[in-house]
Structure formats: structure tokens, C-alpha cells
Amino acid sequence: MNQAYKILVVDDDPFILMSLEFLMRKNGFDVMIARNGTETLELLDQNSPDVVLLDIMMPDVDGYAICKHIKSTEKHKLCKVVFISAKSKEIDIQKGYNLGAELYITKPFSNKDLVNKITALLD
């Protein structure tokens, strides 16, 4: 990796956020974290991450809306979106892909698997 990829990790659960932050940092990503939708949108406004790990159910703005925002913003046209959600119904997954997400991973996930997929996505 020539230059560290910028990754934005979004989840309202502090422990999941904790593990994801550690995992991504360990794999050489430049990590930003957000605990809710509002924080996410603020960070997106100021930064251009290469990939966003996005939870769907959050207390304020839901992940789908954020994905829509990313996919419709010129600045983020190269930004990849990876949903990481406990919503495991086919209809929810389909909705994620329809909104333009590159990946949809259901919780709970295997760390190794997650990292491999994200790395593959970026290469």
C-alpha cells in the first residue's frame, strides 16, 4: 500500500466501534469514527474517505440515507460503501445494494473475512 486508505467507521454501539477501529487501524487504514448519523455527515463534509463502514440502524439518521447521500455527492463519487448491519433480511440487503453500496456484511462477522473483503474491494 503506497498510501493509507482513509476509512470512516460508523456504528452506534461503542463496543463494535471499538473493535472495528482497532481492526482497521491494525490493517493500516487511516481511521475516522462516528457514533451516529449526524457525526457521520459532518465528517463526510470535511473529509473524502475511500471507504465507509456503515451501520444501518442508528438513533438519528439511518445508514441508508447516508449511503444515498454519499452516492449522490460528486466529491464522494469514488467512495465505496460497505454496510455492516444486524439487519439480515434479504429485502434489507437488496435495498442496500440498490442504493449503490459495494458490500453488505451482516453482523456478527469474522474479522479476517471482513478485512479480506474490504481489501479486495479497494484493490
Binding site: D12, D13, F15, I16, M18, S19, L20, F22, L23, K26, I56, M57, M58, P59, D60, D62, G63, Y64, A86, K87, S88, K89, T106, K107, P108, F109, S110, N111, K112
Partner: protein, 900 residues
């Protein structure tokens, strides 16, 4: 008077009838029906006044005084009942396309061919002499007018024969225009109404002539008559059995005015609109009143004038003007009597011929297999020929009876004998339209038994009197059995023969009707027809009166109808019906059941309902089973309670049950969906802690060189999340337990204040950690409660934990316990963010989060509140929240105090 003049005048009169009938049909084709008129309808009912009354009333008045009025009082009383009774009969007749009184009775009792033929045969037997009587009246009046007292028996020189032939032609022309017997006979009815006017005018003119021409008004006649001894008693109702005879006559004529075949024909079959009844109710009695005004004056006048001459009182009307040499007036009176006779013959013949052809001839023809399936274009013609033949047959029979049989009998009471015969139908008809329990066997028994008694008590004596059989039967009874004497049955003596016959025939008729109806079981068709007849107002709508479960292919139905009605007409009828009821016709598919039912009704109009059933069933495949099943329900319920009520109740119950079932089904589906949703929510809830546990454990596992602090942080999180997971699982299991009812309340009596105190002290510490103040407000005394202590503690814990979770630092949580006598009330008031009004109920819902929302609910309001709600409800208490956004929330629950 010259015979030729009379014959020519009579023929001219008949020609006039032709013209009127023709004109009426011509107008009808232009769409201006003459008989669609209340006055014409009322006048046509005047066919009740036959030659028997035209001539005979005067005769009766000379011997019975005002007794002759009985047979007009009856119809007058009946007219007041036209609305409830006749209107109902008209409605049924129209709805079921009934074409005669026999058809009416048979249709009511299951469209049974036997009933139809029995009624038809009895009608012919009972009424034929009555027609003969009319012919007799014509002959006698003709003879009087021509002064030809010697009755000629040379067939070819008998003018009555020619009149009969003429009438037959007339009836055939205007009576068999259409194969559909329910179609109105415009021409005939118009002619009959016209004849009612002619006989009325003729009789009134004769009356005025006698009263004012011969005498000087009513007073003069009565004054002179009062000098004749035998007259004084006529003014009163004295005399032997006058009351009983009077009563019987009134009763008989009440029945006759509706159920004589000719009265049924004009009053019901030919009725165009039931509204016409409104006028008929007073016009018809008025007609009867007017035509009778001069009966007494003519009777007394005749008696005075012909005091010492042998002139038959029945001929006074004609004899008086003849005696005073008034040829024109005599001619007029003759024509009046002629019209009374012919109108009766016309209508009665039409009615009888319809019955004979539809109920006696056609069932035999159509039950033969070769007619069932053939497409024979000549069926229509066949039917018309059968009708025409029947008309001829009846008139010939009447003529033969008149010529060769009648002179053996006294003709005097033939009218009343006919009335008594027809009265035998009354129970079956009246009962049939008001009593659903009446059955086919009951009706058959009633009619057959009634007629048997009628025959035995009235006809046998006539035959005996004529010395055709030994008259010892009258004096000693058959085989010397004294109590079987036909005129003193079972020792009943002292009544006139009509009263006697009426009493016994009705006694046995009604008994048979009721007993057989009660003890016989109706077949499904009968049950259904009974329902339709009695509740005609419900079933008038043909769509509702449809129970046909058979299937038939359209082409089969069409070809069947075409045979009887022709291509054009069948097509029009079916298409109109289909259009009216919004049924689409597919020539290649099975016919709509309503079309099948309708086709049967059309055919019923042509060949009678019993034959129509045979024909239609030949092209349909009936689903016997389902039909029977339907009626089995009907049948069984009928035995317990009145059928209709039960049926309606049943159908309401059925609807209710269906609704309940639907509801239950819906509930199940919703429950299923909810269950799915719940499971999904639960697994979703479980996934979150599981995700961090797995992820963090993997990190620790794969990074043995983690710093001590970081390692502890991760492991601590794993422990915490594991705890969260097990809490969640416990809650889910608890909730499941409470909801399924598996959890039984472990009721004990305890001091609720103590419980609150304990909780308060342990939570005070937790609150202190979060810098939250806790306050408790409670009654001073102890509060004894009979409840499940552990479960109530759970409620309090859940509510308190939530309150602490949402209340920010430095704020206070209030706990308020109040004794409301019958219940205790506990409120926990936090100072959190509050809850929006629309969520007040939803937060107690365990599925709150499941409704596909992606916005996460506030933490801690998961299953906890659902569990609280369940526990409180298990104690028959209530739980609710009062809150406004940003102003904190007040959760309150109540528990009834069982010991209070």
C-alpha cells in the same frame, strides 16, 4: 219475436265483441294497453255476475227475500281483504309466472304434477256444470223471447249449439294468441269488461222500466207487495235456518270471488298492475251494489204482475218487458243476459283450458322421452293446438252436459254447488301463502278429502233426486247405514244442503290439511316454495328467489326455449334478463344459474311449472347433493322452530361465524407475522452484543502481544456484552412465559411499602453514582397487598432502571406510592427527554422496534416495558405513561388490592 232477429242480434253482439277484442289487441301492439287500467280491471272482476245472478237473483228474491244478497255481501267483504290476500297472490303469481289456479297450488306444493292435475280435474268437475248453466240460460232466454216453450232436441236446429261454436271460435282466436299463458289476453279481458257494462246497463234499464214504467216507484211496488201474504216474511231474515244458510252463502261467495277459476283468471292472471287493486277494492263492491238495486223491485213486481200465472221467477227480468210488449227492451234484456253468460263462458273456458292443457295433457306428452331432447320446431304449434283442443273439449263437454245431463238435475243451486267445490281449494291456497309448514301431502289430502265429501253430500243427492240411482240412499243411507246419509252426515240434520255440505267438507278438508301437513315431511322443493310463497316480499326479486344449483350449457337452454317461444323471442327474453341483472352470456360456457332459473320460469308460463321443471331438468345437470344439503339444514330447523326464523337466524349465525373465522384467521396471520417480526427483532438484538463479543475475542485471540491495558479493555467489553446478552435472553424467555400464560402468579400477602423501601435503598446508591437524586412519597401506614411479590419487584426494577438511564445528572427521580383503597398506584417520574405522544402506547409494545423502522428506538425501552405491561395486566392492573418531549416522563401502574 222472430227467431231470425234474435239470432242476428246475438251474432251482431258477438261480432261487436270480436271488434272490441281486436281493437284492444291492436292498441296493445301500439303500446297503449286498454286493460292496463284500474276501471277495466274492476269491470272485468264483474265476470262474477253470471247469467245465474242476472236471472237467478230475482228468482231467489221471490222465495228468499234479501237472502240472495249473501253472495254479493261475501265478495264485498272479501274486497276489503283484497289488499292483504289478493295482492300477495298476485305478487306470487307474477314472480313465479303462474298461469292458473291449479298451477298456483301445485307450484306452492313443490311444483308437483299430481297436485296440478288433481286440482285441474276437480276444477273441471266443479265448474263444468256451471258453464252448462250459462248455456242453459241462453237457451231458456232464447226460448222465452221466441215464445218457443217446447225445447227442441234436434241438434242442428239448436241455436245454443251455434252460439257455442261461435264462442269457441272467439275464445280460440283471442285466447291462444301466444303460447305463453301468463301473457295477458288483452282482447278477451277488454271484451269481458265491456260485457260487464252491457249487463249492468241492461239490468238497470229493466229495473227502471219495472219500477217506474210498470209501477210508480219503489214505494208503489213495496206497498202493493205488502198485500201479498207470503211477501212479508221475505223482508226479514226469518225462515228455516236462514242464519246458517246466509252465513254459508257469504262464506262461499267470499272464497268464490277469488278462487273460482274465472275470478282467479281475471283477478290474478290478467292483472296488469297490483295498484289496480286500490280502485277495485271499492269499484267492484260498488258494481255489485248497483247491479242489485233493482232485484227486489223486479222480483216483487213480477210476483204482483204474474200472481196467477205460471211464470218462472228466474225469468221475470225478461218476462216483464215481454208481457208489456216492449220488444226493443226485451231484446236489450236478452242481450244483457247473453253478455252475462258469454263473459262467464269465455273466461271460465280460458282458465279451464289452460289447466287441462298444461296440467293434464302436456305432462303426459312431455314426459315421453322423444319430446325431451328433440329440437322440434313444431312444439309451439303443438302447444297451441293442445290449447285449442282443450277449449273445444270444454265447451263441447259443457254443451253435452247442458243438453243431455242437465235436465235430469235441478239447476237452481248449481252456482252454489260450484262455489262449494271451489271452496275446497281455499285451505290449500290461503294456508299455502301464510303457513310454511303446509306440505304437499297436506294439500293433496285436503283437496281430495274435501272434494270427496263435496261429491258425496251435494252431487250424490242430485243424482239420487234425478233417480239415476236409488234415492233410498238419501232416506236410509248407503247400505242402510243411517249416519252416512249424504244429506245428514253423522246425524247432522236441520241445515240446508249447502250449509251441511260446506260444514262437513270443510271440517274434513281442514283436518286433513293440518294433520297431513304436520305429520308429513316436505321435500326440498316444497320447503323452498313454501319459503318463497309465504315470504314473497323478500323473494320477489328474482335474484333472491334463485336456488338453482344445476348447470346447463347456454346452447342447450337456448334450443329448449326456442322450441317453445321461437328464436327471436327467446333471444330477446334472455338478453333482456341478462342485461337487467348484469350477467354476461357466454355461448360456449355454462349458463349462469339465474339464467337457468329464469328459463324455467318462462317455460312455466307456457307449459306450467311442473312440465317446465321436467323440460329444464332434461338439459341441466343438477347437483343433487348440494341442493339436498341446503335443504337438510332447512328441514331440520323447521322441525324445531318456525322455518323462516330459524333460517334467518342460521344465516346470521353463519355470517357471524364466518366473520369470526375470518377474524381469527387474520389474527393468526398477524400473529404469525408478529411472531416472525418478534423473532427477527430478538435475533437482531442478540446480534449486536454477539458481534462485539466475537470481534473483540478474535482480536484478543489473534494479537497475543496486546498491551495489558488494551487487552483488559477488550476483555471487559466482552464480559459486559455477554452479560447484556444473557439479560436479553432472560427477558425474552420471561416475556414468552407471561404471554403464553405459562407463568402462574405466585400470590402472597405482603407489605408493599416494605418492598418499595428495599428497592429504594438499593437504587439510591446506584443513583448516587450517577449524581441523580431519588425521592420517595408513600403512605405512612403499611400497605398490604395480595400479589406476586417477585413479579411486582421486576416491574419496579425495570421502571427504575429506565428512569435512571434517561435522567441526566443533578436531576431528581420521584417515586410516588398512593393507596387508592381498591388499588395501589405507583408513579415513577423521571426527568429525561420525555416521550412523544404518538409513542405512548407503542413503547409498551414488544414489537415496537420491529415495524421496519431503521431509526433505533431509545435504548432500554425494549422488552422491559412489554414485560411490565404483561405483569401488571396479569394482576388486572393498568400501566401507562404521561409525558411531553423534553419534560420527562411519568410512568404509572395500578394493582388492584384483592384484600380491600
Amino acid at each position: 219475436m222472430s227467431k231470425a232477429i234474435i239470432v242476428v242480434s246475438s251474432l251482431l253482439y258477438l261480432l261487436l265483441l270480436f271488434c272490441i277484442a281486436y281493437y284492444a289487441e291492436y292498441k296493445q301492439k301500439q303500446g297503449k294497453s286498454i286493460i292496463n287500467n284500474a276501471y277495466v280491471y274492476a269491470l272485468s272482476l264483474g265476470v262474477f255476475c253470471t247469467a245465474w245472478t242476472y236471472y237467478g237473483s230475482v228468482g231467489r228474491a221471490t222465495t228468499n227475500g234479501i237472502g240472495f244478497l249473501a253472495i254479493y255481501i261475501g265478495p264485498t267483504i272479501m274486497a276489503s281483504l283484497f289488499f292483504p290476500v289478493l295482492r300477495k297472490i298476485i305478487r306470487i303469481t307474477k314472480a313465479q309466472r303462474i298461469n292458473s289456479i291449479a298451477d298456483f297450488i301445485s307450484t306452492r306444493y313443490g311444483k308437483n304434477a299430481t297436485v296440478a292435475s288433481v286440482v285441474s280435474i276437480f276444477c273441471v268437475i266443479g265448474v263444468l256444470p256451471y258453464i252448462a248453466l250459462q248455456l242453459k240460460a241462453i237457451t231458456i232466454s232464447f226460448d222465452i223471447l221466441t215464445n218457443n216453450m217446447a225445447t227442441s232436441h234436434n241438434l242442428l236446429s239448436d241455436t245454443t249449439l251455434y252460439f257455442t261454436i261461435f264462442l269457441a271460435i272467439f275464445i280460440i282466436i283471442f285466447g291462444t294468441r301466444s303460447v305463453d299463458a301468463t301473457e295477458k289476453h288483452e282482447g278477451l279481458v277488454a271484451a269481458v269488461a265491456f260485457e260487464s257494462i252491457i249487463k249492468l246497463i241492461a239490468f238497470l234499464v229493466a229495473g227502471v222500466f219495472v219500477t217506474c214504467g210498470i209501477f210508480n216507484g219503489f214505494n208503489d211496488i213495496f206497498f202493493k207487495a205488502s198485500h201479498i201474504d207470503e211477501f212479508t216474511k221475505l223482508f226479514t231474515m226469518e225462515g228455516e235456518n236462514a242464519n246458517a244458510g246466509w252465513f254459508a252463502s257469504i262464506l262461499l261467495s267470499m272464497v268464490a270471488v277469488m278462487f273460482l277459476p274465472r275470478q282467479f283468471q281475471v283477478g290474478v292472471i290478467e292483472n296488469v298492475k297490483e295498484e289496480h287493486l286500490k280502485k277495485a277494492v271499492w269499484l267492484f263492491p260498488l258494481y255489485l251494489f248497483v247491479i242489485n238495486i233493482f232485484v227486489i223491485p223486479i222480483a216483487f213486481g213480477g210476483k204482483i204482475i204474474f200472481q196467477n200465472m205460471s211464470v218462472d221467477a228466474d225469468t221475470y227480468v225478461l218476462a216483464l218487458p215481454l208481457h208489456f210488449n216492449k220488444p226493443l227492451l226485451s231484446m236489450m234484456v236478452f242481450i244483457g243476459g247473453f253478455s252475462a253468460a258469454t263473459s262467464m263462458i269465455i273466461v271460465e273456458t280460458i282458465a279451464l283450458s289452460t289447466m287441462v292443457s298444461n296440467n293434464l295433457v302436456m305432462p303426459i306428452i312431455f314426459s315421453q322421452n322423444k319430446f325431451k331432447n328433440t329440437i322440434d320446431k313444431s312444439i309451439q304449434d303443438t302447444i297451441l293446438y293442445i290449447r285449442r283442443f282443450s277449449i273445444l273439449f270444454i265447451l263441447i263437454l259443457a254443451y253435452i252436459y247442458d243438453q243431455f245431463v242437465a235436465h235430469y238435475f235441478s239447476l237452481v243451486s248449481i252456482g252454489l254447488i260450484s262455489f262449494t267445490g271451489v271452496a275446497q281449494f281455499a285451505p290449500a291456497i290461503i294456508g299455502g301463502i301464510y303457513w310454511k309448514g303446509a306440505t304437499q301431502k297436506g294439500a293433496l289430502a285436503s283437496i281430495i278429502v274435501g272434494f270427496a265429501i263435496w261429491f258425496y253430500t251435494l252431487i250424490i243427492p242430485s243424482i239420487a233426486h234425478a233417480h239415476i240411482i236409488s234415492d233410498s240412499i238419501l232416506n236410509n243411507g248407503p247400505f242402510e247405514i243411517f249416519w252416512l246419509k249424504p244429506q245428514a252426515l253423522f246425524g247432522l240434520e236441520g241445515f240446508d244442503s249447502i250449509t251441511h255440505a260446506l260444514f262437513w267438507s270443510m271440517f274434513f278438508n281442514l283436518s286433513a290439511y293440518i294433520l297431513f301437513s304436520i305429520y308429513s315431511k316436505p321435500n326440498p322443493q316444497e320447503v323452498y316454495q313454501a319459503e318463497v310463497f309465504v315470504d314473497i316480499d323478500i323473494y320477489q326479486n328474482p335474484e333472491k328467489s334463485n336456488i338453482w344449483r344445476g348447470t346447463a350449457y347456454m346452447p342447450d337452454l337456448y334450443s329448449l326455449l326456442e322450441n317453445f317461444l321461437g328464436k327471436e323471442r327467446s333471444k330477446n327474453l334472455i338478453q333482456n334478463y341478462a342485461h337487467r341483472h348484469k350477467i354476461s352470456i357466454d355461448m360456449h360456457a355454462k349458463a349462469d344459474p339465474r339464467i337457468v332459473s329464469f328459463s324455467e320460469k318462462i317455460l312455466a308460463g307456457v307449459i306450467g311449472s311442473s312440465s317446465a321443471r321436467i323440460m329444464v331438468s332434461s338439459v341441466t345437470k343438477e347437483e343433487e347433493l348440494s341442493l339436498n344439503e341446503v335443504f337438510k339444514i332447512l328441514h331440520e330447523s323447521q322441525q324445531m322452530i318456525e322455518l323462516n326464523k330459524e333460517l334467518r337466524k342460521k344465516s346470521i349465525e353463519l355470517t357471524k361465524a364466518t366473520d369470526l373465522l375470518k377474524e381469527a384467521n387474520l389474527q393468526l396471520t398477524t400473529m404469525d407475522e408478529l411472531k416472525d417480526e418478534f423473532l427477527y427483532t430478538v435475533t437482531h438484538e442478540i446480534r449486536t452484543p454477539l458481534t462485539s463479543i466475537r470481534s473483540l475475542a478474535e482480536i484478543v485471540h489473534e494479537n497475543p502481544n496486546l498491551e495489558e491495558a488494551e487487552r483488559n479493555k477488550f476483555l471487559g467489553a466482552v464480559v459486559k456484552e455477554s452479560e447484556r446478552l444473557s439479560h436479553l435472553i432472560t427477558k425474552v424467555l420471561n416475556l414468552e412465559k407471561y404471554e403464553s400464560g405459562k407463568q402462574k402468579l405466585n400470590l402472597t400477602s405482603f407489605n408493599f411499602i416494605e418492598l418499595v423501601n428495599d428497592l429504594y435503598s438499593s437504587y439510591e446508591l446506584i443513583a448516587k453514582d450517577k449524581k441523580i437524586k431519588l425521592s420517595l412519597q408513600k403512605p405512612n401506614s403499611m400497605l398490604l397487598l395480595h400479589a406476586d411479590k417477585d413479579l411486582l419487584q421486576q416491574v419496579l426494577v425495570n421502571l427504575l432502571s429506565n428512569a435512571i438511564k434517561f435522567t441526566p445528572e443533578d436531576k431528581t427521580i420521584q417515586i410516588v406510592v398512593s393507596d387508592m383503597q381498591t388499588e395501589i398506584q405507583v408513579s415513577i417520574i423521571d426527568a429525561g427527554k420525555g416521550i412523544a405522544l404518538e409513542l405512548h402506547e407503542l413503547i409498551f409494545d414488544k414489537f415496537f422496534q420491529a415495524k421496519n423502522q431503521t431509526i433505533k428506538k431509545p435504548e432500554g425501552t425494549g422488552l422491559g416495558l412489554a414485560i411490565c405491561k404483561r405483569i401488571v395486566e396479569m394482576h388486572n392492573g393498568k400501566i401507562w405513561v404521561e409525558s411531553e418531549v423534553e419534560k420527562g416522563a411519568r410512568f404509572t401502574f395500578t394493582i388492584p388490592n384483592f384484600e380491600a
